[in-house]
Symmetry: C2
DNA sequence: ATTGGTGCAAAGGATTTGCAGTCTA
DNA sequence: TAGACTGCAAATCCTTTGCACCAAT
């Protein structure tokens, strides 16, 4: 997947060039959303993104958040993470990493253990190629 | 996770003892749902399960399907797989395996490559233990 | 009687859609 | 002006919930 070299937080001008790099025209709303996302590596739901962007004093509609996040994940700006059946999370961390999902608390955290990257890739049917590998460890304290 | 020794399809009496093994009382609806699930290893949405069970001439309500699948996945009878943002899939294959998700077609298939099992487990914070590891390879033909 | 299980319909909540208005090249 | 984009509200769709009824212990 995309392996951008990001230093959080990303400032506006960096966000703009990042979007352009992904062939996304940097409209006001998209830039504001991306700026919010790339303040730090994080996992956010659409609703949280809407809240956050709004709280920063920017006006964006719910539909645009959904449109934009759909666009961003298609283009590879963020990764969709599906763990909670309730909603989709968008991951602004571009590094290769895995997730730890605490089933007791619902908390989602990143894992970077080098060993994990040793995962072998499966043999694929002709013509198919892997574009992303999701590894989620479900953990509990019980 | 559970590593039952299953030979598909499971017949009714086997389903009943399996449920008892998981400390689930084998009501008519639960047995019918489980019988349908364990005809073969498969990934099914709640709606498909309702359809299938109904088509076999058994009467089960939608609420009961949801209740039952929630119970089954809590007890470890089936695994929840979240890949498609549309809905939850329930996996009746108890063997250790991973998934291949074709983003072009939405098709979900199993992978058994032995190598994949070499995945190292990450270091965990004190007190937490891994209860399940999900690996999904997203593939495309494009 | 009490507890567990089921079914129905209504409610809930996340996401999508239709469409009119807006911006920009 | 065309095409891309946005916003609003209504619609959709999966899943959950409230509650009455039924079954089994």
């Amino acid at each position: 997947m995309n392996t951008l070299n990001i230093t959080f937080p990303l400032e506006r001008s960096e966000v703009v060039s990042m979007l352009q790099h992904f062939k996304i025209s940097p409209t006001r709303q998209r830039v504001e959303i991306a700026e919010f996302l790339f303040q730090r590596p994080q996992h956010l739901s659409a609703e949280k993104i809407l809240d956050g962007v709004t709280r920063e004093g920017n006006r964006v509609s719910r539909a645009t958040v959904y449109n934009t996040m759909g666009l961003f994940s298609n283009k590879g700006v963020v990764r969709e993470v599906l763990i909670d059946r309730e909603r989709v999370f968008y991951d602004s961390n571009p590094e290769v990493h895995q997730h730890l999902y605490n089933i007791d608390t619902g908390e989602l955290t990143d894992v970077y253990d080098a060993e994990v990257e040793m995962v072998a890739e499966p043999e694929l049917p002709e013509g198919l190629k892997i574009i992303d590998t999701d590894i989620v460890y479900k953990v509990t304290a019980r």
